[in-house]
Symmetry: C2
Subunit: 233 residues, 2 copies
DNA sequence: CTATAATTCGAACGAACGTTCGAATGAGAG
DNA sequence: CTCTCATTCGAACGTTCGTTCGAATTATAG
């Protein structure tokens, strides 16, 4: 009973290590490898032996860094979600126009999604894999992210004098964006910036707030309609 | 080796049973219960013992009806996909207007999705759980469904003289629609017809084919914009 | 150096996994 | 009734699961 708690993060004596302690850096490596395995086999389908093999560490050795497989998934999800929200907040700071803020949200989401595709797949796919304590904490972070987007939508509706269900709109938008983990192929599909522009175009025009052509932070002029650079299959 | 093949569907003597043989009906019951379990715990997370308990049949007894857990998932996915395609083809028969055909596609998808929410979640979520033979057959059916939608999109583009990537548009649409398994709550959200109208509105307007108000097979006039019946949480 | 704490791992635990087998039931046909 | 075949199940199989433990190894402080 008390023996389980002692695994909760031992100290290091010298804090002189550049980017977190040796412990933290090793743990981060393990998380990265575990993310790949969870992505390929799913949380339930990945065994601790798979994870230890991927990390190049013994099965027993893993338990020095985290106390259970469930906690490992929790750490991955928490870190991924926290990071994407932090980046979003930072980028939103300088922008006040509601439409641009939504475009920025979409860009931030897709950029992070594609740059960390495996982690985001684990986040999307293993949504309800965590139980009780772990699950509710992740759910809270997800809720926060959702609320930010609803907030942006409400600003947008007000200034454009539009009326639609923010819930339905936001969830449709999330669907569009998150679904890419099932189909995105970097050799066929456009990059995050292009994709964000296209999805923002569909969404904003679809929701009624038609603006004739402005993109957020992308070089090529103001084409808001879908690009023709992609062929259908 | 030869003993495994003998489980491949024994015969019944009297074909006088109303809806398929006794064997078929019992199997269908098992599939229905298994769908619920797969939906709740995931394919990998559901054990054969879970499935047998849900069906009220002994663990060993299950193997009289199918030869492996993988085959069970295959049967569920195959049936679900085949049914939704069959219904779609039937409904598309009478309609020739490209926009209406897309609206019908969306309506058919969402109606079936919400009426068979658990099966569709299993279909969406356990997308790549099947290996080799089973997996490629399901993938082929999914591809067929995708191609139908691309076909509708191309018709639509041609008659409206629009230019956009059908691939990207169709996959965004699928994202919007399929994501609902993560959020739909029948006590809060609109029914399939209403939802289909709203999503079709966003999508069609978003893609540039603006039509001022027609719904497919829904009573209330021609509002194409999002309804205000839903509050944001 | 020695002492102390951080880190790693082989071996094993009991539990749960998917699947098999042969015997026990059930029911309809003659 | 008997015979036959469809259906069910208890018990067990070999394997893999997540986790634990104590000893071995490595690194740092004094």
């Amino acid at each position: 009973m008390a023996s389980a708690a002692k695994l909760a993060r031992p100290r290091r004596r010298s804090p002189a290590v550049p980017n977190g302690s040796r412990f933290d850096r090793r743990l981060a490596k393990i998380l990265a490898h575990a993310t790949e395995v969870f992505c390929e086999k799913g949380y339930a389908g990945a065994s601790m032996r798979d994870l230890s093999r991927a990390s190049g560490m013994s099965l027993a050795g893993m338990y020095y860094y985290f106390e259970s497989k469930e906690r490992l998934l929790y750490l991955i999800q928490k870190h991924t979600f926290t990071t994407i929200i932090a980046r979003l907040r930072q980028r939103l700071e300088g922008v006040s126009d509601p439409e641009q803020r939504i475009r920025l949200f979409i860009l931030n989401h897709l950029e992070y999604f594609l740059a960390n595709q495996k982690a985001m797949k684990v986040l999307s796919h293993e949504d309800d894999a965590l139980k009780n304590g772990f699950g509710s904490e992740i759910a809270a972070v997800k809720r926060e992210y959702y609320r930010i987007c609803v907030g942006l939508m409400d600003e947008f509706k007000e200034v454009r004098r539009l009326e639609f269900s923010s819930r339905m709109a936001v969830l449709s938008l999330f669907g569009m964006m998150n679904w890419i983990y099932t189909w995105y192929n970097p050799r066929v599909d456009a990059d995050a910036g292009e994709l964000a522009g296209q999805m923002a175009g569909i969404f904003l025009r679809g929701v009624g707030g038609h603006s004739k052509g402005n993109r957020v932070r992308t070089g090529d002029g103001g084409r808001t309609n879908l690009g023709s650079s992609l062929r259908s299959e």
